[in-house]
Symmetry: C2
Subunit: 247 residues, 2 copies
């Protein structure tokens, strides 16, 4: 058995999310496992770096799997792309260290949240952006973002009902840039709680509109209270941009 | 009555094309006229720079219209964008010289044809590109493109059944560029015959694949025979990129 690492891009619009649920195949994981199992002639399981919610996209999701095959990495990639639907693409397959596991190996993930800051629809990108007609103060959003960096308990930025595991995460970087009428938020961290990126994006948007002050970030981190944070920004504008491993 | 010039972007996927047909509103022109008529309280007709076929997109289609209104140009634009569907956007409205007419005033049009030159789907752009897995020889395509420039009878590059009007057109420029796995063809001319850009794109693709030689362009121009040209490349990868007027 060899261990493989694959990189995947997908348009999440049609799917219930990354994770396979019993007996359904409206998941991205399910679609890929089905084709890989067909290639191998037996059931194959793949492990993603993490789940993405329904409607969330990926430019660089990573998954690992172990199979026995005579095919080269490129042949595996080509086989997958031949049978996968057009909204899922395997952009790379390579052999990985035996210890590598896409979910368990430590990584840095970058998410991208895209905002069309205009009252004019971006007709070609409309399914991948969130429309905010009011002018966003990017300077204020950047100030707020600076408070997010570092190791914190982010439970106030999550939709978790019951908290069993640690809710401490590290955010390495938050980059906010404007290009024309688009505002992009890139968030890089060692992991994210349920809905955490979307709630951070929603909070930053409210700060950009002037509905909240940048310092509200500090208050959410301090009080650990979801109610002090902003709304959960829509899934369709969120993309898992990159996953980087040391291994 | 004031004369206005508007610039429009649209995703043509859902539409039968630019031109309004009797009693149907699956045209882009129809959608815009309906909103403009509602704003004015009476029927308004708009004139596009030209028709685009069903499935063809536009980044910079131009149309003109005459109305009497107290609204500013920006207010007209905002009104239209408020009521137009998300796949049609009016990106600009301005007052124009009285003599300006989007179809009759002389202009230079640029079309863009987008090719995903890969066996890996471009998941986010898949509705706006044509997939060519075989490697394209861009150098050969550029050589072929050079033969297209200038004033020629392009009837061999059209799907016209009966020819009444002149089929002589001028192509000012053909630019072919590769960026990553995408190959883009920009064609600028004073006008284009029915299906002319798609047949030129199809011919250039066949040349890039090595199925035809660059000199076949000369043969089509000389023989004026459609059969010497390549296939009609799909509409979904074609975008009316820009329309420029002297006036």
């Amino acid at each position: 058995m060899k261990n493989y690492k694959m990189t995947i891009a997908y348009d999440g619009t049609r799917y219930q999310g990354w994770q396979r649920l019993k007996d359904t195949d409206k998941s991205i994981q399910g679609k890929i496992e089905d084709v890989l199992s067909r290639m191998c002639g037996h059931k194959v399981e793949i492990h993603g770096s993490g789940r993405t919610d329904g409607g969330v996209h990926a430019k660089g999701q990573v998954a690992s799997f172990k199979i026995q095959t005579d095919k080269s990495c490129q042949e595996i990639r080509d086989y997958l792309n031949e049978y996968l639907p057009e909204d899922i693409a395997v952009t790379a397959v390579c052999e990985a260290d035996d210890r590598f596991h896409a979910r368990l190996t430590r990584c840095r993930k970058t998410y991208l949240y895209r905002i069309n800051n205009s009252n004019i629809s971006n007709v070609f990108e409309r399914k991948y952006v969130y429309n905010v007609p009011e002018e966003l103060r990017v300077d204020k959003m950047k100030k707020a973002a600076s408070y997010l960096k570092g190791e914190h308990d982010f439970v106030g930025f999550s939709s978790l009902k019951k908290v069993k595991k640690s809710t401490i995460r590290t955010i390495y970087d938050v980059k906010i840039e404007r290009e024309g009428s688009e505002v992009r938020i890139y968030i890089t961290g060692d992991g994210f709680l349920y809905n955490m990126v979307r709630i951070i994006a929603g909070t930053l948007i409210e700060i950009g509109k002037g509905e909240k002050e940048p310092e509200c970030i500090l208050k959410v981190l301090e009080t650990k209270n979801r109610e002090n944070a902003g709304f959960t920004a829509p899934a369709q504008a969120l993309t898992l941009y990159e996953v980087r491993y040391d291994l």
